[in-house]
């Protein structure tokens, strides 16, 4: 079903452009199929799927370069509302973490949402507030991918009236966001591999398809391998999240591995795919940048690649010689011998 929806989207979508806007028709179609709140519990009006289904949707929609807020609306905002016991009317939401002055930057899709769900840390308490757009000030912007990416200014009163939630919600938000981004990055990289393979089989230079040249083969093998590694890392974290409903204490490590592998894979895949595609792949009309630009945005959201590497280095150093393997296999170092 998912595949059909996005195959159809890809065949009907507008030509690639420098900026992209929310595709409301696609969003409505997903809504009619129960896919816009895929991972929301049925009791809260969702489809009751697990992170396995959510991650599949994130990857497939990213592979299609579909401009829709799956991560923001469902995986993050709906989850926060449920965690806070707040109702969700099903209208489009985005999500952000305003700073102490009530300002949040880099809020994708804010201009398109009917309400913005804010996670706010105030004097050691975490609060969740569902704030209608008519109570916030939105300054429009665009990110590297040309997506709506706005600044949102809240009224501090609205944030202070938010519902107090557990501390772990605040920590999980970052992990859930990071893993959602990994699933999107990997999905887009898998589609890039397809594009590259087709091009290398068709494009001829010096009298034969460029895919016959060993140098091109190696570029493509590297794309395939790095994508596979990132897929394995991401699926491992997703499986652990689904099996434990994010309660597994090894989630931090698993998400960090996924984000690190996806982030470094992005360097290889973006560079390699553009190199194989040549000049044509840098043009506005080509599909490639509909995938490479979002990859670069997503790998740096919810923590830079460097930050996640640092997190892993800290965990590893603290685990040390005798407990590193336990960390690698289970995400937990266990107690020192």
């Amino acid at each position: 079903m998912l595949t059909d929806v996005f195959d159809r989207y890809r065949s009907e979508r507008p030509a690639p452009a420098a900026t992209v806007d929310l595709d409301r028709a696609l969003w409505a179609r997903l809504e009619s199929l129960g896919l816009t709140r895929l991972s929301t519990p049925e009791a809260a009006g969702g489809s009751g799927g697990t992170w396995l289904e959510a991650a599949a949707l994130l990857s497939i929609s990213a592979a299609a370069g579909a401009p829709i807020p799956v991560a923001e609306h469902d995986v993050l905002a709906a989850w926060l509302l449920a965690a806070a016991g707040l109702p969700h009317d099903g209208d489009l939401r985005t999500v952000c973490r305003p700073d102490p002055s009530g300002v949040a930057i880099n809020v994708t899709w804010a201009r398109d949402a009917s309400a913005v769900v804010a996670l706010w840390e105030d004097r050691d308490e975490w609060r969740v507030a569902d704030v209608p757009v008519d109570r916030v000030v939105i300054t429009e912007g665009r990110n590297l991918a040309g997506e709506p990416c706005d600044t949102v200014e809240f009224d501090l009163d609205d944030l202070e009236e938010g519902t107090v939630v557990d501390h772990e919600i605040g920590e999980q938000f970052h992990l859930r966001g990071a893993l959602a981004r990994s699933a999107q990055v990997v999905g887009a990289m898998e589609r890039i591999l397809e594009i590259v393979l087709v091009h290398a089989g068709e494009r001829e230079q010096f009298g034969r398809p460029i895919g016959r040249f060993q140098a091109v083969q190696h570029l493509i093998a590297d794309i395939a391998m790095e994508t596979s590694l990132a897929r394995a890392a991401t699926d491992t974290a997703v499986a652990r999240a689904a099996a434990s409903d994010w309660r597994d204490p090894g989630m931090l490590f698993a998400v960090a591995v996924a984000k690190s592998c996806a982030g470094h894979a992005a360097s290889v895949v973006v560079r390699g795919s553009h190199q194989v595609l040549g000049a044509i792949g840098t043009t506005l009309e080509h599909e490639l940048h509909v995938l490479t630009r979002p990859i670069l945005v997503r790998r740096s959201e919810f923590g830079s690649v460097h930050e996640w590497d640092e997190t892993l280095a800290t965990l590893a150093a603290s685990a040390g010689r005798d407990r590193l393997w336990s960390l690698i296999t289970t995400g937990r170092a266990g107690s020192r011998r």
């Binding site: 690639p16 452009a17 420098a18 900026t19 930057i105 880099n106 912007g141 990110n143 590297l144 040309g146 990416c149 600044t151 494009r203 001829e204 230079q205 010096f206 040249f213 140098a215 091109v216 982030g263 470094h264 360097s267 560079r271 553009h274 190199q275 040549g278 000049a279 792949g281 840098t282 043009t283 506005l284 009309e285 080509h286 490639l288 940048h289 630009r293 670069l296 945005v297 790998r299 740096s300 959201e301 923590g303 830079s304 690649v305 460097h306 930050e307 640092e310």
Partner: protein, 382 residues
């Protein structure tokens, strides 16, 4: 001991350092006065005829063109340091780039006396802007496969075909067009090619934009629909096109623009590590070291070219290493940067532009895969 791939290291003479200081002082003033905002990859993306003419007025255009043709009659090394300072400052140099780097030297080497007099003074004043027409839709790295054909007619040649990736054609006055003047002979693929100096306002020239993934318009498709080029606008001799473009590609291979396209981002990242916008990381030092060594390597190649020494392999090495490094700088800074949208932040403005321009670095002027083959051949491997 093996013959080193790279010509001997050359130290910069005091006069060159003084020239740097002059150019630098001028550029600091220009930025202060708002004449331009520093940017990355400006030799492709920042077009400013006023700035170009101002450089000419100061004697920093047509630098290697003899004074007899209105140029400055200075050395390749002098041009080298001026070019470095312009790129490092992120100055808008695209309007004169192609003429200053390739067209001028090529006209000097291959042009007729009449052509030199007709074009070189105007190039040196920054008033005549040139483009280049080598690539075609299906040619890619295989230039010998170009299909644009020139047919002999009364008094000249009639050109029919399509050129692509012509940067700035929509703003330029003329371009060099590579065309087949005799049919492709599979056994001698490089024969039968010639270059023509084509007026881009001539009848039959149709210029259409190729918009880049950034949304910007730098490149064009130039359709030549039977454009008449008079005999006196053939460059050099009919049939010498391959040799000419090979030597022009040599001119453009190892210059500072193959190292410094993202330098303004590297410099901004250094400041950002100092003031806490980026985490301190030893990787910055590695990139600074590579840029410093490439600066020296590129300078050595220029010195060798000045003295007509053979430096083809070294030039290819500079281009592969340098363009890879330009892109690696963008990727490196990106991995250190958590996404935060902020229009006022110079770092993210430069970073985003660098990321969007990056794919072209290792493609334009010969892909790195092709150039590694050039190096391997130069080392005797095939």
């Amino acid at each position: 001991m093996p013959r080193p791939l790279v010509p001997p290291v050359v130290r910069e003479q005091a006069a060159l350092t003084e020239l740097r200081r002059e150019v630098r002082a001028f550029l600091v003033g220009q930025v202060r006065d708002g004449a331009f905002v520093p940017h990355v990859d400006t030799w492709l993306t920042r077009w400013d005829r006023d700035f170009t003419r101002e450089l000419a007025r100061r004697g920093w255009l047509g630098m290697v063109i003899p004074t007899a043709y209105g140029g400055q009659g200075r050395t390749y090394l002098e041009r080298f340091v001026v070019t470095e300072e312009l790129l490092v400052a992120g100055a808008p140099v695209a309007a004169h780039w192609v003429a200053e780097r390739q067209i001028g030297p090529s006209l000097l080497r291959y042009g007729t006396e009449e052509q030199k007099q007709a074009f070189l003074p105007a190039i040196s004043r920054g008033e005549l802007v040139f483009g280049i027409g080598m690539s075609e839709p299906d040619s890619g790295s295989d230039l010998a496969s170009v299909r644009t054909r020139a047919e002999r007619v009364e008094g000249g040649w009639r050109l029919t075909g399509t050129k692509v990736w012509t940067s700035g054609a929509h703003e330029a006055d003329a371009f060099f067009a590579l065309a087949r003047t005799s049919p492709l002979d599979p056994a001698h693929r490089h024969d039968g090619l010639s270059q023509f100096i084509v007026d881009l306002r001539a009848p039959g020239v149709d210029i259409r934009p190729i918009v880049s993934m950034s949304g910007d318009h730098h490149f064009n498709e130039v359709h030549l629909g039977g454009v008449l080029v008079p005999d006196d606008r053939v460059l050099g001799r009919i049939g010498d096109g391959w040799q000419q473009v090979t030597s022009e590609l040599g001119f453009e291979r190892s210059g500072p623009e193959r190292v410094l396209s993202t330098y303004p981002l590297l410099a901004e990242a250094a400041s950002a590590m100092d003031d806490g916008r980026l985490p301190f990381d030893a990787g910055l030092g590695r990139h600074v070291a590579r840029v410093a060594a490439l600066h020296q390597m590129s300078f050595s190649v220029s010195a060798a070219l000045e003295s007509h020494a053979d430096a083809d392999v070294a030039a290819a090495a500079v281009k592969v290493l340098g363009t890879t490094e330009e892109g690696d700088i963008a990727d490196y800074v990106d991995t250190l940067t958590a996404t935060g949208w902020d229009v006022d932040d110079e770092l993210s403005t430069l970073l985003h532009a660098a990321l969007l321009q990056r794919p072209g670095f290792t493609l334009r002027g010969g892909t790195n895969e092709i150039l590694r083959g050039v190096i391997a051949r130069g080392l005797g491997l095939r």
